[in-house]
């Protein structure tokens, strides 16, 4: 069930009404309802994968309790590693097995030895990377004595499978979400309205920006040999906005939906394309994943405490793993490595924590220096996205070479009218995002002080734009991860 589907438009109000009316003031009933709704939501993708989700949930719930009750460190360690190994094995089998088998065969073919790899023909269970990381963070936190194991299975299962975050995050932490699940929740009008507003903005990002940019990004990337360098450059820009609109739009809908149920999820995006360097970009892009890797990989590896060499090594490790997390393809690994390379100068010069504030805070225009930094950072990001989007490494390299070599007609695309509309709407979108960059999401405060008529007119305009471009029901990019 997609967030941008009629099915979800029916599902959400039903669950909302049951949650606040039927189950009101009964926390157990509310959580049970959320669990049933979440499992139904997941089953709409493929009911067979419910078994995997249930098994993963039971495993982490059980090993969490066992660790909690372990009489000695050895037993605790046993249950910890059992959980980690089984979780990663599932991820390995479903997501990475074919990649390793094929890469193994390819490396032998370079030596002239032909091997036919035995590959699995299974589809990737949607959201597996997300709920596996949920479970892992829970188990690691118990092992490190940061939290106590959850004894109520329903509460724990809601933490893992809460439907707004189940298939594409944000990747939650038990320390943040579990206390909210266990606490009585009261309906708050302002929070619910804010949730709807964020859902509306998320739908706008997905349907009006991402899906429309996708039309040209796909056309150009899929037929890259037919286009001039300038058009290929434009294709990379289209993809840059597509992936931002798609993923941050999803996150906005997830956060807004959770807020309707009185639950606050972790922020996942903070206007990353206005970053002044790559380090800042990674503090603003897919925040829940970046912070997960920081807390559960970078810091355990020694973080930045062991001198420059260790910092460089650890940075490369987390970016490569982050790339690999996205998918079993060399393009993602190179994308991760490129980002590690881009961030390296600021790490070596110890300037990676220079831009912790919001760019041009309190002002409308950035300084020339800030603008230059934003454009340069954006350019590096666009370059890296080419690897992320390309079919394989040779496609990515060919694409990049053609941008610089293959001059020709300027921006040659079919359907000029639509292309013009997308450029205009995207430009307005960038302006609104810039104006709202000090908020949690761009339209959080936009129009709040206006007369109700004008404020409603603004929301109606956004909603109508969403409807005018809607109907294709295209899936979200991050569902494949």
């Amino acid at each position: 069930m997609l967030f941008n589907s009629i099915g979800f438009a029916i599902f959400l109000p039903i669950v909302f009404l049951l949650y606040w009316f039927t189950a009101k003031k009964n926390l157990k009933f509310q959580n049970t309802l959320l669990l049933i709704a979440s499992y139904f939501f997941y089953a709409c993708w493929d009911w067979r994968f419910l078994f995997l989700l249930t098994f993963s949930t039971l495993l982490d719930y059980y090993t969490g309790l066992k660790m909690q009750d372990a009489e000695n460190q050895k037993a605790k360690r046993f249950w910890f590693w059992l959980s980690v190994i089984v979780n990663l094995s599932f991820l390995g089998v479903f997501k990475y097995y074919n990649f390793f088998a094929e890469s193994f065969a390819e490396s032998f073919s370079l030596l002239g030895i032909k091997i036919s790899p035995w590959t699995l023909s299974v589809i990737l269970p949607v959201g597996i990377s997300f709920y596996t990381f949920h479970g892992l963070s829970y188990v690691i936190d118990i092992y490190k004595d940061r939290i106590k194991a959850e004894r109520n299975f329903v509460d724990y299962a809601v933490f893992v499978s809460f439907f707004p975050l189940l298939v594409a995050g944000p990747i939650e932490r038990a320390t943040h979400l579990l206390p909210q699940i266990k606490k009585e929740r009261k309906f708050e009008y302002t929070k619910a309205v804010d949730g709807l507003r964020q859902i509306l903005w998320g739908l706008f990002k997905k349907i009006v920006i991402a899906d429309q940019c996708a039309i040209y990004a796909n056309q150009i990337f899929n037929n890259s040999s037919d286009y001039s360098g300038s058009t290929l450059f434009l294709g990379a820009i289209f993809f840059t906005f597509q992936i931002y609109g798609d993923f941050s739009g999803y996150s906005d809908i997830a956060l807004g939906t959770a807020r309707l149920f009185g639950i606050e999820l972790l922020r996942n995006f903070a206007f990353p394309y206005f970053s002044r360097d790559i380090a800042e970009f990674w503090r603003r892009w897919h925040i829940s994943l970046s912070s997960w890797f920081k807390d559960y990989l970078y810091i355990p590896l020694g973080g930045s405490k062991g001198g420059t060499w260790m910092k460089v090594r650890n940075t490369f490790i987390i970016f490569i793993v982050s790339g690999f997390w996205h998918g079993a393809n060399w393009t993602f690994i190179i994308w991760g490595m490129l980002n590690a390379l881009f961030i390296m100068p600021s790490i070596l010069m110890k300037t990676n924590r220079n831009n912790l504030d919001i760019v041009a805070q309190g002002k409308f225009f950035p300084t020339i220096k800030e603008l230059t930094q934003i454009v340069l950072t954006f350019g590096l990001t666009v370059f890296a996205w080419i690897f992320f989007r390309a079919e394989n490494l040779s496609h990515a390299i060919q694409y990049i070479l053609s941008i610089f070599k293959n001059y020709g007609s300027f921006f040659v695309l079919d359907n000029y009218l639509k292309y013009k509309i997308i450029i205009i709407i995207t430009s307005i979108f960038i302006l609104v995002e810039w104006m709202g960059r000090e908020q949690q999401y761009a339209i959080e405060n936009l129009g709040l002080k206006w007369n109700r008529f004008f404020r409603w007119s603004l929301y109606i305009l956004i909603a109508i734009l969403v409807l005018l471009f809607s109907g294709k029901g295209s899936t979200f990019i991050y569902f494949q991860f």
């Binding site: 309906f187 309205v193 109508i464 409807l467 005018l468 109907g471 029901g473």
Partner: protein, 299 residues
């Protein structure tokens, strides 16, 4: 909570009302087919593919035959002879009419199909297109059509009306393109290359489609007179069609025998102008319509 639900319901109702209003603004500029699904059931029909959609002008027929005609032709992908088109014609035709006039245009492509087995009906392109997915063909505004076929592109309804194609209320699709000789030659060259490279090699006569041509004529005969016409095309296009089916007239002979007459206009190919070798220019379309109308009148 009550306040929230009331306001949310009001907000959603306003949005739905505005959206419905926008949908109701759809017209002949929205897309090349929409209006054909919004008019009432018809007594006299012009049927065929894009050649007749663009070439045959109902107003010309009205002038000569003193009755309203409706052009219910689509494209070779949408309306070749088959069950999908026949069913749609049945929905569009006034079931009580007994003295209607029906002009069925034919060409080798509309009785052919691509693919290994040209009679594999599951592989027919029209199965997934507008005629197959639109059950209501006489509803105005036709929300079924718009929701199913304009999804993702509803914004087109509000776009400036400066597109090259305009669908008239009588179903005629007017196409306005540059007719200077260089532009025409370029379009003809591109069209012929496309047909030679892509369409001709994959097309084969489909006996299923041929049978549906016959069934269409048989059905229409129950409601009036049926005239079959083969419209003129550029000499280059005719050459390709001859390669595909040199004995086309023999192939459709059974259907012709059932009809009230057959007019093959391919011997007049040099007399008309075409926008791309395949479709008549609107001025030539007027002349061709007049000629067919006079021929029917003389019958």
């Amino acid at each position: 909570m009550k306040n929230f639900i009331v306001r949310t319901t009001l907000f959603i109702s306003i949005i739905i009302a505005i959206f419905i209003f926008i949908l109701s603004l759809a017209n002949g500029y929205t897309d090349p087919f929409y209006l054909r699904f919004t008019t009432p059931k018809q007594d006299n029909l012009i049927l065929g593919t894009s050649r007749s959609a663009q070439g045959l002008q109902p107003m010309v027929f009205k002038r000569f035959l003193n009755r309203n005609f409706y052009n219910f032709s689509f494209t070779n992908a949408h309306s070749p002879f088959g069950s999908v088109y026949l069913n749609s014609i049945k929905h569009k035709l006034n079931p009580n009419i007994k003295d209607g006039i029906f002009i069925v245009t034919v060409d080798p492509w509309s009785i052919s199909n691509n693919g290994v087995n040209p009679n594999d009906t599951t592989n027919f392109t029209e199965n997934n297109l507008v005629l197959a997915n639109t059950n209501f063909v006489n509803m105005n505004p036709n929300f079924e059509y718009l929701l199913k076929n304009l999804s993702g592109e509803y914004y087109k309804i509000l776009m400036p009306k400066k597109v090259a194609m305009f669908l008239h209320d009588d179903g005629w699709l007017e196409v306005n393109v540059s007719m200077d000789s260089a532009a025409v030659s370029k379009r003809i060259k591109a069209k012929m290359e496309d047909y030679r490279k892509n369409t001709l090699p994959s097309s084969k006569l489909s006996s299923v489609r041929l049978s549906y041509l016959k069934q269409t004529v048989e059905f229409l005969k129950l409601h009036g007179k049926v005239y079959i016409a083969r419209l003129p095309v550029s000499p280059q296009m005719y050459e390709i069609e001859q390669e595909l089916m040199f004995d086309f007239n023999d192939k459709i002979n059974q259907s012709v025998q059932l009809s009230d007459g057959y007019l093959d206009m391919t011997n007049e190919n040099n007399l008309y102008q075409f926008i791309d070798g395949n479709h008549l220019w609107k001025e030539s379309g007027k002349l061709v319509s007049q000629k067919i109308a006079e021929w029917i009148k003389s019958k």
